[in-house]
Amino acid sequence: MPANLQVNVGGLLMKNPVTVGSGTFAYGQEYDRYFDVSRLGAVTTKSLSLKPRAGNKPPRLVETPSGMLNAIGLQNVGIDVYLREKAPWLRNKGCTIIGNIYGYSPEEYAELARRLEAEGAADAIEANLSCPNVHDARTARGCTLVAQDPQQVTAYTQAIRAATKLPLFIKLTPNVLDIAEPALAAEAAGADGIAIINTLLGMGIDPETRRPILSNIVGGLSGPAIRPVAVKMVWDVAKVVKIPIIGMGGICTAADALQFILAGATAVAVGSYSFRQPDASMKVIEGLAEYCERHSVANITELIGAMKV
């Protein structure tokens, strides 16, 4: 009998534990040319803001050893276009939707969540409190992301929580001393799940021109290079919170996804690796099913946090 892959992520039912990293799958249409994206546990959208955003100037990405740095700067179509053009397509496909949102204040986040819920354009909300690419690196210092400050995490989470009944996930940054702190703050403020990790801050310089490689100087590091860091952060958070975790950071294969699940993630997201292998997320689902059969796991939930220490 094939294993039951269904998971419940803080109220969001996913038919399998695999979604995609926000910003690595656009709004689903492009990759639907390679595989039926409705087979994913959920599609997570690019971060949506109230107004469309043009993002940073190019160059915005550079490859790094086993990974990449990006400073896209949240270019997105804005909530209006999303509701008008993207959500209907996703709905029509039958996708479960995690609507990822980004705002400049708790009120903006609340407004975004409210509109997504009101228009039935998402089945859960993921609040990106951790985008590294919307600050000027020349002047920024220290605590510049909401997710770096547990008090702000509390305030933002509470505001969004008050605005929506949809399952609410808070996406945190790894650029902290102890990821457990913002995670606990989010949980206490009413979040239904924690999404980790967003990218690590990094940069590159071209020695020939002596200029930064990214126009924004600093970007976010993703891909297999950061996977060990991400697994550790999932484990750190799983030790202290009761709400589920969506784990991500360098997942390419089912074996990678299993590391996150064994460390304590209820669901996982394939991020940058989709760029290399557009159907990687589908292959992860197939690989998880195969693993469960081979190991006689009837229900994938048995594996959550099942690392033997």
């Binding site: 276009v81 760029f275 290399r276 292998q277 159907d279």
Partner: protein, 263 residues
């Protein structure tokens, strides 16, 4: 509809130092491919290099395509080690092709360095679909980097050579050669090469009222319009976006739509 196909290498030759022609057996992709489109090659099975490498189609045959490339770094170096009989994963065809517009008397292709790559396929398409024979300006740093001369000769194209060092053809930039050809409003120009060269070509075309299509380059992660990494700034909004994706909205753009001030 792009495909993800394991494709066999049917031939692979070094044409001049550091420049190669790779022929890939890929019936599905070849069937759909059009001049100006590109593919993403998985140069390695491991995670270094992490991303695929974009390469346009030099020529499109019934069951295969050829790729003309230059060694730039690790990815192209790995590519150059492929032997006939081995296979490589190819994603494509991607991007928008060159439009084939019948309402121009004169078609001039302007190639800078390895920017020659999409033009053999384009010339074939122009000849076959429009019944016109395009001219081509082949510009490069030096003689040994002038590629595809013979191919264009065989197609009957008028060829204008230029090198930076004067080692072959005129000692001039491609854009100056174009200006000297006195193109007019009856002319359509196609250019591909380094950004500064395309910017100069665009300026000449702007001056002379010539419609100019540029095949842009950019660092790409996905090649599929998803990551938003490969954008260039447009002068107007294209599908409600200022920052347009080279991979998806291009790589071929009307040069008048691009903000060249950034280059």
């Amino acid at each position: 509809m792009p495909y993800l196909s394991e494709c066999e290498v049917t031939s692979h030759h070094e044409l001049s130092p550091g420049h190669y022609r790779l022929v890939l057996h890929c019936p599905e992709i070849a069937q759909d491919a059009q001049a100006g489109q590109f593919c993403m090659l998985e140069v390695q099975q491991g995670y270094y290099p992490f991303l695929r490498r974009p390469m346009c189609f030099e020529r499109i045959f019934k069951d295969s395509v050829s790729i003309l490339y230059k060694i730039e770094g690790e990815g192209t170096r790995l590519l150059s080690a492929l032997s006939p009989g081995q296979s490589i994963n190819v994603q494509g065809p991607l991007g928008k092709p060159f439009p084939l517009e019948a309402n121009h008397a004169r078609h001039i292709m302007v190639a800078g360095g390895i920017g020659i790559a999409p033009f053999p396929a384009l010339a074939e398409a122009i000849i076959a679909k429009l019944g016109v024979t395009p001219e081509i300006i082949i510009a490069a740093r030096t003689d040994s980097m002038l590629l595809c001369e013979r191919e264009f000769q065989q197609m009957g194209c008028k060829i204008h050579l230029a090198t930076d060092d004067g080692s072959a053809g005129q000692k001039a930039f491609a854009s100056e050669v174009l200006r000297a050809l006195a193109p007019g409003p009856d002319t359509i120009a196609y250019c591909c090469g380094p950004m500064p060269m395309m910017k100069a070509t665009h300026r000449v075309c702007e001056d002379l009222g010539v419609r100019c299509l540029a095949s842009l380059e950019a660092e790409m992660a996905c090649g599929d319009g998803v990551c938003l990494g490969c954008v260039v700034e447009a002068k107007v909004e294209i599908e409600a976006e200022r920052m347009v994706r080279v991979c998806y909205d291009g790589p071929v753009f009307d040069s008048a739509l691009i903000n060249w001030d950034n280059y």
